[in-house]
């Protein structure tokens, strides 16, 4: 299967699709069928459709089918509209991409056309910073060597620039020739492998010859990459439109399901089972009643012999009557709420990063509740905890430390003096700092010089050197082999010719440069790199002891170190090596390895000049954020590619771990499997022994050991992961990060991964919640993430405020939805016992539909504004998050409470109604309206009682809805053709109606209120205590009790999670089942502990308190 592309041939372009990019799921024509098909793949929708279809059978339907079809159609319309809107937005962004203007050669002339009109075989011209519109085979660049740079971040998340080369056969073509080039490219059919491209190219005469030239991925420019540092490039389009490598690999990510959704699904399943039981029992009873009693009721006129399906009729009727047990509105309500939660995150001004002008953004609108249930946070270090803004802080030159006193070498007088006095070592050190990098200086028109660097470290070094009066002012020509670097040093301009660059690779961990001093003609090798990569190359005669100390010392301070070295090369040595280097660079097989080997030959006997130390400052508020979140019971793991000592230092700085004696670090290391295994076992033992002690333990593991552990000792490591609240994993790869997330997820922990760079993307996508920091390493992480925030410190607000509120609100909304549906359903069931178990519906269709869709849905939606505690209180007492984490507000037992309440309320409503409206008043329409009104009255009070705070909107919604109920029913009652004509007017003129309503409310709500008050006063939950504290403005005094309450909760969680991580069901105990002993204990000594252990906080809050008063 091959694709043959004729370059610049207008005649055969119809074979392949054009470059129209389409991310749309639907077209105008297939929208309806495809969308319906998608929607009906969900179980709930299938269920509702089945019910709706059954209702079309008039023999069994208790109500007008419209009562199910109406809401069903509304729901489908809502989701379809949402899909259509999303698809329309995709269409717009596609359109933007498709209509982007690009330069394409048509008939030998360069023309400006829209990107969508590019055909396979066209020659496309790109300028610097252009986005590549389709997959191209490179045939020409502005660089004489035929190289160009691309940024592939959008494709693979890697932010470094990659070099692409033109195939040898095209080398040396000038732009005029490129316009007229003809040839053929033979390439495979489109696939999604972005690392492979095996093809051949042959140019037609008169171009060179007709030799077949092999092409690789290095000769391509793939769609969505950006051309960088290259003036122009041109290429032949080989894959276009949706057939590009990016287009083929585009997939729809799996939708994430929150723990709450899973719980709601489980409860739905349970209700479904319950419903089936009810249906079977009532169906059986109904059939028995029919055969014994109903045959005697002559007026019912049961035929002697029914049709074959007669036995099914009554059960099916009950199925339809009970179908409202699963509320059709819950899906819509939840979706609506979730999108509002997401909007609140987007809107939140407190999470707006003024510095970068980025607001927080919730890309995934469906998982806000999970934020409140996070148990593990896995965080990247660089750029996430730190600012990723490198600043040169200290250095050690020739054994002399600079910057130790002031903390900033650039202000160190000694260094400045040394520079001023031209101390040779220092000058050499600065020269290496300035030259040995790939930084490109750019002179703006005003004369100011800015630097473009791929690496933040290099940027920092060059800038620091510039401050020390050695300014890199220009690199002449983009020619790699002959770069003239100009340095302005104390006013005199030094020129160097860059002969070779020995590039940095992550294996070599160092880079070198061969330069020639233009004044003296001497050739130097300049090297810089990690200590472990540079020291082995040092001159054997040199004492490197002090440098090693320096590295150690800097790492202790959390600084990033680089070692600089140099060596003067003999002319002939260089020339000899240069040949080998050129040869190696042009090899086709194993080029990287060969190059590394050649480089090795030159990089020896270095004279170590010194060590630089670069500070990557912690972001604002990181330690506080981590402290608060740890108090909230969230465990932190740091996963970083950095080295161990730096990682530990940063961890200490940001409260990640405590220093001795409060905390203890356990190291897992080793080079061989045995060593790692022994080390792991030792750590595990220590961990097991000390779990009871109040010591903060953390383990540290490096990438190498992790590799072995994840392969061989996964179980032991899992246990360790459960035992340890904190872990530091250094030198880990992106895939290991993702594996660790996977490991924690497999233990049933809710994980949140936060990172900022391309290397965190996999971890972010893997985790339950991915948070991206839209930082300096680009936006890849932010794009892949569910939430993107500007700074790490916003995480605490995201979790404690948004996550917690979302959880609480959804917990209420979902359970309430079931409650109100069950309520009406139980009334129907009880009524069926008084209607000969024949499946008569007490309520008419309009009421049933309106009950579910309007009366009970709208007021409860305002729970989206409900706040049980103020944001400030939550921030002050993050421990309260445990209620969300442990799922205490939505679990089978709380649900059982709501279930019981619906049974009780149904009994109250029904019994009162039938007794108050007995005998001559027992007219069907009236009685059903009385029962319905009773439900509505109860709803208003239930919602009022369950909400914690009332804004004007909530009050309006609850009581407005209440009024709307009467208004709607008055309207319906004035339509002569309606079944309930005049009913509502009749009822409202009867005093007994109003008396009945008040009785229903009093009897329905009285016990609920009493129970709630009793619990609130005598078995308060921590939330209640805080509410009370908020009210009385005395936060400090209730704290002691709160602490101990939480402690007991936490203990449960802890003990359970240690013993059986997977079955933590008993955590789901009701909110208020704390044993009396626990409550009593809380008044006693633990409170005392609290006062002792945290005096500072008491006094501070006391102070604040005083101010408040």
């Amino acid at each position: 299967m091959k694709r043959i592309v004729y370059i610049n041939d207008e005649s055969c372009q119809d074979l392949y699709c054009d470059n129209r990019v389409s991310n749309r799921k639907y077209t105008l024509l297939n929208f309806l069928p495809k969308n319906l098909w998608e929607q009906f793949r969900r179980f709930m929708n299938q269920y509702f459709l089945l019910i709706a279809c059954l209702q079309l059978w008039s023999l069994i339907t208790p109500v007008n089918p419209a009562s199910t079809w109406g809401p069903l159609i509304i729901i489908f319309a809502v989701s379809a509209t949402k899909e259509a809107w999303d698809d329309y937005n995709r269409y717009l962004s596609d359109k933007q991409a498709n209509e982007k203007e690009v330069w394409v050669v048509k008939n030998g002339v360069r023309k400006h056309i829209q990107a969508q009109d590019i055909c396979v075989g066209n020659v496309v011209w790109l300028r610097e910073n252009d986005e590549v519109p389709c997959d191209l085979v490179l045939i020409g660049t502005s660089e004489p060597q035929g190289t160009c740079y691309v940024e592939t971040a959008a494709l693979d998340g890697e932010t470094d620039l990659k070099t692409r080369v033109i195939p040898p056969t095209c080398v040396g073509l000038d732009s005029e020739q490129l316009h007229r080039i003809k040839g053929v490219i033979e390439c495979p059919n489109p696939d999604k492998d972005i690392r492979r491209f095996v093809a051949n190219m042959r140019l037609f005469p008169p171009f060179i010859d007709n030799d077949i030239c092999p092409l690789t991925i290095n000769n391509t420019l793939l769609q969505s990459c950006y051309l960088r540092n290259t003036e122009w490039a041109c290429g032949v389009a080989v894959y276009t439109g949706n057939e590009t490598k990016l287009g083929m690999s585009r997939g729809i990510p799996e939708p994430k399901l929150t723990a709450m959704d899973a719980m709601i699904d489980k409860l739905t399943g349970a209700i479904f089972l319950f419903q089936i039981v009810v249906v079977v029992v009532l169906g059986f009873a109904g059939n028995v009643w029919k055969d014994t009693e109903a045959r005697k009721q002559w007026y019912v006129k049961y035929p002697e012999e029914g049709p074959w399906y007669e036995l099914l009729v009554i059960p099916l009727r009950f199925e339809l009557l009970c179908s409202i047990m699963i509320p059709i509105s819950i899906k819509v309500s939840l979706d609506l709420m979730k999108s509002l939660y997401a909007k609140f995150i987007d809107w939140d001004e407190d999470m707006f990063d003024a510095e970068t002008k980025t607001p927080a953004h919730a890309a995934n609108t469906a998982i806000s509740e999970d934020l409140g249930q996070v148990e593990y946070i896995l965080t990247d270090k660089t750029g996430t905890l730190t600012e990723n803004r490198m600043i040169f802080k200290r250095c050690c030159i020739n054994g002399i430390f600079f910057g130790n006193e002031s903390g900033d070498a650039l202000e160190d007088v000694e260094l400045l003096n040394a520079v001023a006095n031209n101390i040779p070592h220092v000058i050499r050190f600065l020269t290496v700092m300035t030259l040995c990098n790939t930084v490109i200086p750019i002179k703006s028109k005003s004369g100011a010089i800015s630097y473009k660097a791929q690496s933040q470290d290099e940027d920092a070094l060059v800038k620091a050197a510039a401050q020390l009066h050695m300014v890199l002012i220009g690199k002449n020509g983009n020619i790699i082999v002959e770069v003239f670097a100009e340095i302005n040093f104390n006013g005199s301009i030094l020129q160097y010719e860059v002969l070779d660059i020995l590039e940095f690779t992550s294996d070599r961990k160092r880079m070198s440069m061969v330069v020639k001093d233009c004044q003296t003609g001497k050739i130097f090798l300049l090297s810089k790199g990690a200590d472990e990569a540079i020291f082995p190359c040092s001159n054997s005669g040199q004492q490197i002891r002090t440098f090693m100390d320096a590295v150690e010392q800097y790492a202790q301070l959390g600084l990033r170190t680089l070692c600089l070295g140099w060596r003067e090369l003999k002319e002939d040595e260089y020339i000899e090596w240069s040949h080998m280097f050129k040869e190696a660079s042009s090899t086709l097989v194993d080029r990287e390895w060969r190059l590394a080997e050649v480089c090795q030959r030159l990089e020896h006997d270095l004279e170590i000049l010194g060590v630089t130390a670069i500070e990557d400052r912690l972001q604002d508020g990181v330690p506080e954020t981590i402290e608060i979140l740890r108090k909230a019971g969230i465990n932190f793991w740091m996963l970083t590619g950095d080295k161990q000592s730096t990682a530990i230092q940063i961890a200490l700085l940001c409260n990640f771990i405590s220093s001795e004696p409060k905390g203890q670090l356990l190291f897992i290391n080793g080079k061989t499997e045995d060593e790692v295994a022994r080390s792991l076992e030792r750590v595990l033992l220590t961990m097991r022994i000390t779990t009871s002690e109040p010591k903060e333990l953390a383990f540290v593991v490096d990438g190498w050991a992790l590799e072995i552990i994840l392969k061989q000792y996964k179980e032991a490591f899992t246990e360790l992961a459960i035992l340890s609240r904190t872990a530091i994993c250094c030198r880990v790869t992106p895939s290991q990060k993702a594996q660790l997330v996977e490991l924690l997820k497999s233990c049933d922990y809710r994980t949140l991964a936060i990172g900022d760079g391309g290397n965190d993307v996999r971890m972010i996508q893997q985790a339950d919640i991915g948070v991206g920091i839209s930082g300096r390493e680009g936006l890849q992480a932010a794009r892949a993430a569910d939430y993107s925030i500007g700074k790490f410190r916003f995480l605490k607000r995201l979790i404690l405020v948004h996550g917690r509120y979302s959880y609480n609100r959804t917990a209420f909304l979902s359970q309430y939805s079931f409650y109100k549906s069950l309520l009406i359903c139980f009334i129907q069931i009880i009524f069926s016992f008084l209607s000969g178990i024949s499946g008569t519906s007490l309520f008419n269709s309009v009421s049933l539909m309106a009950y579910n869709v309007f009366y009970t849905s709208i007021p409860v939606l305002t729970v989206v504004l409900d706040k049980d505690l103020s944001e400030r209180t939550v921030m002050q007492h993050p421990q309260i998050l445990i209620y969300c984490q442990a799922g205490r507000l939505l679990n089978p037992s709380t649900f059982a409470g709501w279930f019981g309440r619906s049974v009780y309320h149904a009994i109250v409503v029904f019994l009162i109604t039938i007794h108050a409206y007995a005998d001559e008043k027992s007219e069907m329409e009236e009685l059903s309206m009385v029962a319905l009104s009773g439900c509505i009255w109860l709803q208003a009070f239930v919602v009022t009682l369950e909400m914690n705070s009332f804004t004007i909107l909530q009050i309006l919604a609850i009581w407005g809805n209440f009024v709307a109920f009467y208004v709607i029913n008055f309207i319906v009652s004035s339509i002569p053709s309606a079944g309930m004509y005049t009913i509502m007017f009749r009822l409202c003129t009867q005093p007994s109606y109003w008396i009945t309503m008040v009785l229903i409310v009093a009897l329905g709500m009285g016990p609920v209120l009493a129970l709630r008050y009793f619990r609130y006063t005598y078995r308060p939950s921590a939330i209640n205590i805080l509410q009370q504290a908020e009210r009385s403005r005395g936060p400090i005094y209730s704290l002691g009790m709160l602490e101990s309450q939480l402690k007991s909760v936490e203990k449960d969680v802890a003990s359970l999670s240690i013993n059986q991580p997977k079955s933590r069901s008993s955590v789901y105990e009701p909110l208020l089942s704390d044993s009396p002993t626990a409550t009593r204990r809380s008044i006693g000594p633990s409170a005392f502990d609290f006062f002792q252990s945290m005096p500072s906080r008491i006094s501070s809050s006391y102070m604040r308190n005083c101010k408040d008063n």
Binding site: Y226, R389, I449, S450, A453, Y805, G836, M924, P1020
Partner: protein
């Protein structure tokens, strides 16, 4: 130093463009978007809860007393006649008696008025164990047919009483109409006949809007099996008030329907003679038939339920309020004790 321009080279284009795009997205401050709308947060403080309960109690007890006294003022006279109106010798097979059109179904009952009854006195018939709310039954009607003449053929919902054997539409169709109650009562007191006013016993709205004035009974009770009463084919449905009352189906298996009104006062201990045509078959399913004479009050007929329920609930609420007060005094809540402790510490 030019720090910003050059340092984020990696994704300059992307960052800049999106930063510019996002810049405009800076959240606009409003109390709603920041979730900072002013809110009141009522707490279940002892004061609120106890006073709520006390208030309920205080309000409920008078209402309950009022309802109860209203109900007590209603004079009600109930007479069950289904069993007694079967001649002694036929009591073994009541069903045969009622189904035989030849037997004499006239039955005379004497009732003593317990208390003075002032007019209007409502005359009801009460059926027990009669499932007017049975699904087969309650659905078996055609509102369209009842309303307009042109919809005469709309009998689909009326099965199994939609059409006669010949396929002619029955008007009014359906089981409800077919089983129309057909016992009749005539009253006399002191050998002077008491007029029962049978006008306006149905809802005006039904007569005007639900039953057509141009719809006349047709093919009614003409089938093999006679259900209940037959209708005068020359009177339009809107005037057939017994039918209209009957067609307002009851939600409960025990129900009363208005038969008529006696518009003279009855004195206490007055003896009323009722001549009953005992036609309606409740014997096959063991249903009871009762004749009810009752006065009315603002609360309706005689029904002690609301009054008793109000008194009970009111009493319970007062009891709860007292209980909570006692609890509050003798066993202050942990919560409050804690706040109290704190207060003393502070002082």
């Amino acid at each position: 130093m030019n720090s910003k321009a050059g340092s984020t080279f990696g994704s300059d284009g992307a960052t800049d463009s999106s930063a510019a795009r996002r810049n405009s997205k800076k959240p606009k401050y409003s109390k709603f978007t920041q979730q900072e709308l002013p809110a009141c947060k009522p707490l279940l403080t002892p004061g609120i809860v106890i006073s709520t309960f006390a208030l309920i109690g205080i309000i409920f007890i008078p209402i309950g007393l009022a309802s109860l006294s209203a109900s007590e003022h209603v004079v009600e006279l109930v007479d069950r006649y289904d069993a007694d109106c079967v001649p002694q010798h036929l009591r073994d097979d009541k069903l045969a008696f009622i189904q035989n059109s030849q037997t004499n179904k006239t039955c005379t009952r004497r009732l003593i008025v317990p208390k003075q009854m002032s007019s209007p006195i409502q005359v009801y018939y009460q059926l027990d164990n009669f499932y007017q709310n049975h699904r087969r039954y309650v659905k078996s009607r055609s509102d369209k047919q009842l309303k307009s003449k042109s919809s005469e053929r709309e009998t689909k919902t009326c099965e199994p009483e939609g059409t006669t054997g010949d396929g002619l539409a029955i008007v009014p169709c359906g089981l409800i109409a077919w089983s129309l109650f057909n016992d009749t009562y005539s009253f006399s007191a002191n050998s002077k006949s008491l007029q029962v006013n049978k006008k306006d016993i149905a809802w005006q709205s039904d007569k005007k809007h639900k039953f057509g004035s141009d719809v006349y009974p047709k093919n009614f009770q003409s089938g093999g099996l006679i259900g209940g009463a037959s209708l005068n084919a020359s009177i339009p449905l809107s005037e057939q008030e017994d039918l209209i009352v009957w067609m307002r189906t009851a939600a409960l298996p025990t129900f009363r329907k208005l038969y008529g009104r006696i518009e003279v006062d009855l004195e206490a201990n007055e003896e009323i003679t009722v001549v009953i045509q005992n036609n309606y078959n409740t014997y096959s399913f063991g249903g009871k038939k009762k004749l009810v004479l009752s006065t009315t009050s603002w609360i309706g007929g005689k029904n002690n339920f609301l009054g008793v329920a109000y008194l009970t609930v009111g009493g319970l609420c007062l009891f709860l309020a007292m209980g909570f007060i006692l609890l509050y005094v003798f066993k202050p809540s942990n919560l409050i004790s804690w706040l109290y402790c704190g207060l003393s510490l502070r002082l």
